[in-house]
């Protein structure tokens, strides 16, 4: 029996979303987008005769992913270097995995956003999110579309053809050819890329956590308790995560330069705090006060008063001073940013 010819041919690329994946398939007369969920599939068809254009726009997703994986890999590597025995191996393996993900993301190349336009809709094709993959897929798609519609020749751009009146765009019937529908934003004349309005939420969370860190460090000087020490550790980790989130979030947004610089400053504080803690642990080890587990070291730290140890006092003062130095001006800047933002601007 003759083998049944496959109706659809898969295009390269796969997009991931919360509930599943998205793929593209070339059909006999249409492009099929398949959104696969765990136990179901949704389909959307774009007939070749209806496709007006396909646009690739550059995106900074690759940089954001690189920063995120680097923010995981570097602290894990440093932790592995300063941890004893089995912890070093475990943390080293985690750091290696993070490094591998970082390398894979780097090797996969530039990211982009692909939009398919018809007369009635502009649809984002999630599976074409890497430039190399998108270009490969679009070459295949282009041949199918041109087989139906023909090639776009110079006769379509003739001025007389433009003067005939608005064509095939249901949403902008009043446009005359050759003129933009709105004036270019003055900022865009300096910055070629699109600017997204920021809500400032990520920065607000970061500055709040820094204030909380300062409060806990100040309380820890006066009162010695294990709960305060453990809380301090968790707040420190939360600050580290918030720094990464804010770094990614503020990319290509309209958040001011003053606020932007607070985030790298916070990152510097997080790294400095880590190095100081590592140095304290190393010094404790050399003086014979090393412990077998991280929990025991936390317990020992909570039992040591800052008044008894100049090193601990110095770290606490450093932590309080830097946290307040970043958080207070940061909150003032954020309040000014919110006050000056035009009403109706939606935040990212």
């Amino acid at each position: 029996m003759a083998r049944k010819e496959k109706e659809y041919r898969r295009l390269p690329g796969r997009g991931h979303h919360l509930s599943g994946t998205s793929t593209l398939w070339l059909g006999p007369d249409h492009l099929l987008r398949v959104d696969s969920h765990r136990y179901a599939e949704d389909y959307k068809r774009f007939y070749y005769g209806d496709i007006q254009s396909i646009v690739l726009l550059p995106s900074t997703r690759r940089q954001s992913i690189l920063i995120a994986w680097a923010a995981v890999c570097v602290p894990l590597t440093l932790l592995a270097l300063f941890s004893p025995g089995a912890w070093a191996v475990f943390l080293g393996c985690l750091a290696g995995l993070a490094g591998l993900m970082l390398a894979v993301n780097w090797l996969r190349g530039e990211t982009c956003e692909c939009r398919l336009q018809t007369a009635v809709q502009t649809e984002v094709l999630r599976s074409l999110n890497r430039l190399r993959t998108a270009l490969k897929a679009l070459r295949l798609l282009q041949s199918r579309v041109e087989a139906i519609q023909g090639k776009l020749g110079p006769e379509f751009f003739h001025p007389e053809a433009d003067a005939a009146g608005p064509v095939s765009n249901l949403f902008e019937p009043g446009l005359t050819p050759g003129t933009p529908s709105r004036a270019a934003h003055p900022d865009l004349q300096q910055d070629e890329r699109r600017v997204i309005h920021s809500s400032g939420a990520a920065h607000a969370v970061l500055f709040s956590l820094l204030l909380l860190k300062a409060a806990i460090a100040a309380t820890d000087i006066a009162v010695n308790h294990l709960a305060l020490t453990v809380a301090g550790v968790f707040i420190y980790l939360a600050v580290a995560v918030a720094v990464v989130v804010a770094l990614i979030h503020q990319n290509r947004t309209d958040i001011g330069r003053f606020l932007r610089w607070h985030v790298p400053a916070s990152l510097g504080y997080v790294c400095a705090h880590f190095l100081l803690s590592a140095a304290y642990n190393a010094a404790a080890g050399l003086s014979g006060k090393s412990t077998d587990s991280y929990w025991q070291s936390l317990v020992a730290l909570s039992e040591t008063s800052a008044w008894e140890s100049p090193w601990l006092m110095g770290m606490s003062v450093f932590s309080i001073a830097v946290s307040l130095a970043i958080a207070i001006p940061g909150w003032l800047g954020l309040a000014r940013f919110w006050a000056l933002r035009p009403s109706g601007a939606k935040g990212a």
Binding site: Y39, Y43, L56, L57, G150, T179
Partner: protein
Amino acid sequence: MLRCHHCKAALPQSVLDTPDWAHCPECGTLFRMLGFPAAFRRLDTGAGAATVLAEGESSCFYHPQKKAVLPCDGCGRFLCAMCDVELSGQHLCPGCLETGRKKGKLKQLQNHRLRYDSISLALAVLPMFIFWFTVFTAPAAIFVALRYWKAPSSLLQRSKVRFVVALLIAGFQVAGWVWLAVFMTMRRVS
């Protein structure tokens, strides 16, 4: 008309299908664009139905005052220009279109399908982590596999391998439970 996605300015031919990123001449947005003649195509106005003028002329089944132009490919009823719905070369009436959509006969209109093979496989495999659940899920997996064996699973022509694997795994589970039940009974009797 091909327009910039950011500022909607008309784009010249020189920025299309370039080997590198192109700039919008108005706003400077970077992009790469493939354009097609459909962007310059004028919108077709909908066909109006002509009134029946002469006696003996065929009229539309749904609009007796309108002239019939062709028969429905599904039911054979005469249709006017307004009632004719063209779908992948077929001319259908609204009734056949709706019937075809509801019964799943018109593949071009289907936009959602359940993957019964994945459901069956999940019922067979996932409960094995909490083994006691398999006393209920194994028969359910077998039921789903047999009940939906012939149901269309995906537009993309998946094989039945998931059904087969689900039946095998669920079958072993059921066999195991039956054996356990027999063993316990025999032990109690003896």
